[in-house]
Amino acid sequence: MVAQFMSLKDAIATCVQNGDTIAMEGFTHLIPHAAGHEIIRQQKRDLTLIRMTPDMIYDQLIGAGCARKLVFSWGGNPGVGSLHRLRDAIENGWPCALEIEEHSHAAMANAYDAGAAGLPCAVFKGYRGAELPRVNPNIKFIECPFTGERLAAVPAIRPDVAVVHAQKANRKGDILFEGIVGVQKEAVLAARKSIITVEEIVDDFTDIPFNAVMLPNWAVTAVVHVPGGAHPSYAQGYYKRDNAFYKAWDTIANDRERFRDWIEQHVMQGGPQDFETRLKAQQTKAEA
């Protein structure tokens, strides 16, 4: 099955079901914010959300009541502080209870790698002397059959759907990632279905390097053209991280009502086209 070009609305409606396990990845860079908003707009529920760094995008999904469970390794607003919606869900069950499965970055990176590699589990040198194995039954230990060395094991991540943002697709639906590439390729290869939002669709990839980080069209389910779709995260070569908005989020998310208003105004009444608009506004401001 070769990648289909779709609208964001259709891609989320077709690929994401209530109760699904979803990995939305992007390590600071290329975070699929537009796709996250579409999931909120379509009021998907009971999702298990997987992400190494559940930052603003998951704060929004959790605060909007889309998530039942979170699998993660670091939940904060980097350089700013707490994720207030995430904490409110964990500490107070608002707007609904949130089950958590907590790992380290190394465990999750290895679990994505194992998922992409078709393995049932990842084996790594991890969690030595750490306490997470006490509270997370999905951390076990095995012995190297040659040396007897004790190694940690975690289940491979195999999401129903991976959602990522990339710089470019070509007209065939092949995808190109550049810069900080995170675990996006692994997440897509590990998932049953995948949605890739992209900044730009180009005619062909004839001028890209031999060893570029990319996905061929037959390894992808849906490709969606959403310029600015990573904002306030960034897309290397297109626009910078909107650090000011990450700081502003701290205030918005710190109050339930203010958060609800923000979601209502910017997500429920918005659409994917807003991201390009927002970007242009930001760029105009920067140039001023």
Partner: protein
């Protein structure tokens, strides 16, 4: 006393702990400032690695997040996060890891997970992130943290990342062969582990700080070395470079 504050003292002292040939895994915040200060002063060839996959990065301003575009643009190479944790960190290629903490005990075990009970926390912290494996895979660990009784505690609520465990040979009992937290740099002093028991001992006190200041800001029984040094003050050059770095950083982040 020259004109500097205690955070600057801490940052400069941490920077000085780094060598030109180090390969350093950098966390965000204080570690990032210290590592880049080292690079901009006495250690121009130091290799700075951020867990976002950027190897040998030379940012002109400090990143707000560990994955800012500046890190990639100035790096020697940028690798997938899977590769970063598998080949570079776990592969034993990093000489120094820089970590902070919400809570720390006298054996350098750190908590960045929860205050209170895990299942019913008083405060839910961000979690371990890269720290559990940074703490065990890097050649040695430098801890950087402002001292307070709330942070420097007798018993941490959750062992996110291993230091010396229960002390003595406990660290090695987990199959860990790396050195562990060889230096704890605070806003008041430098502590280093006891040669055999491994609890932290104050080995150097920053100028203008008294022993009582340290005791008052520490939740465990403070031990002082037989000979306690006075930490050298920041040089004018170091202070200038650090302040310019912060000024550039603030301008860049506010300008957006």
């Amino acid at each position: 006393m020259t004109d500097y504050n205690s955070t600057e003292m801490m940052t400069v002292t941490a920077a000085r702990a780094l060598k030109n040939e180090d390969v350093c895994f950098v966390g965000i915040g204080m570690p990032s400032a210290a590592c880049n200060l080292a690079r901009l002063t006495h250690a121009p060839d130091i290799t700075l690695i951020y867990e976002s996959g950027t190897i040998g990065t030379k940012p002109d301003v400090l990143p707000l997040s560990i994955g800012d575009g500046e890190l990639c643009e100035t790096a020697v190479n940028t690798v997938p996060v899977t590769e970063m944790f598998r080949y570079w960190l776990q592969g034993g290629k990093i000489s120094v890891g820089f970590l902070g903490a919400a809570q720390l005990d006298k054996f350098g075990n750190i908590n960045t997970t929860v205050i209170g009970d895990y299942d019913n926390p008083k405060v839910r912290l961000p979690g371990g992130g890269g720290a559990p494996e940074i703490a065990t895979s890097c050649g040695e660990i430098f801890l950087v943290m402002k001292q307070s009784k709330r942070g420097f505690v007798e018993k941490i609520d959750f062992v996110t990342s291993l230091g010396y465990g229960k002390g003595g040979d406990d660290r090695a009992s987990y199959g860990v062969t790396t050195k562990g937290p060889s230096r704890l740099i605070t806003d008041l002093c430098i502590m280093e582990p006891h040669p055999t028991d491994k609890h932290f001992i104050v080995t150097s006190i920053h100028p203008g700080v008294s022993r009582d200041d340290i005791i008052a800001a520490t939740g465990w029984q403070v031990e002082f070395a037989e000979e306690v040094a006075e930490t050298p003050v920041p040089s004018a050059h170091e202070l200038q470079v650090l302040r310019e770095l912060h000024a550039r950083t603030n301008a860049a982040h506010e300008g957006q």
